[in-house]
Symmetry: C2
Subunit: 181 residues, 2 copies
């Protein structure tokens, strides 16, 4: 299969990285634990007066480069590759792209190796990308075209109100993919 | 139509930019005029002992950001958009991606406006991208999948040995696209 993997919160732990960066930058302000997050976009869970601070936290230099891998993600990429699947990374840059786009490549080089950077597909609109499946934590993925991939939702607290797509994480993915065969 | 436009040598004048940067950095070494170029990759036209210098010339900071638009390209994007086509930019980063990926976004923001950065699709393998046509100066575009787009080759001296795809430039594109309807 041609498998497209989202990067943030599927491979790279944006959630945990944001929480730590937020608490370090704003120890006086409230923070939201990962398991209590409700909105896909983290800024949607914070009071409106903090939106600029939230955006600043993940837009500055070093944020994307220093994210830790999601537990189990790198092993899953190795196993999927060993099973003969073609793995590509399908990722959208944030609106303030300046550090994000380069650092997403650097993250992939650091954690999956330089050759894997050639498997990055960076696009705001993932419906332009061809693949058999897309594993992505975003609840609804829309764009200019009707997608050709099947969406498997990567399980996160903020996407559990969505019931339609098949749901997996890096602990149960083998059972889910196998059951769907 | 969903029209995919390559960036280097279709929108941004990599050829002219390289020649000027090369001559500035290496006034003592021979250079090759744009009309005498034979290979798709510029380093293929230079003596093998200069390959590292050639790569350094287009890999350093500022190279991609400061490329001039290909004459007629920006007007063509405006006209294609006004005709109702959906225009996206489909571009491959160079292997030494560190400055290139960010600066390709900055170039689009500078010349086509910030909102157009959301229409960038960055991938090494363009066969993963869905569109009706792809306008690209690369003679043969292959990848893991059979492409779904029709390739129009953007006319350049180094791709004139290829006769199969339809050929156009920003002077004659209206006639070529209209003749193909």
């Amino acid at each position: 299969m041609l498998i497209l993997l989202d990067q943030d919160n599927v491979l790279a732990d944006f959630e945990q990285g944001f929480l730590e960066a937020w608490q370090a930058a704003h120890p006086d302000k409230p923070s939201i634990a990962c398991e209590d997050r409700k909105c896909f976009h983290v800024k949607g869970d914070y009071p409106v007066e903090y939106v600029n601070h939230v955006e600043d936290t993940y837009s500055g230099p070093g944020f994307f480069r220093h994210l830790k891998p999601v537990p189990g993600a790198l092993k899953a990429v190795q196993e999927l590759t060993a099973m003969g699947h073609e793995i590509h990374i399908c990722t959208s840059p944030i609106n303030r792209y300046h550090h994000c786009v380069r650092e997403k490549y650097e993250w992939v080089e650091a954690h999956l190796g330089y050759e894997f950077t050639k498997r990055i597909i960076m696009t705001k609109d993932k419906t332009f990308v061809r693949g058999d499946i897309l594993i992505d934590d975003k609840p609804e993925i829309t764009g200019l075209q009707a997608p050709v991939w099947h969406h498997y939702i990567y399980d996160r607290p903020y996407n559990r109100s969505v019931t339609t797509p098949l749901r997996l994480d890096w602990q149960n993915w083998k059972d889910v993919l196998l059951a769907d065969k």
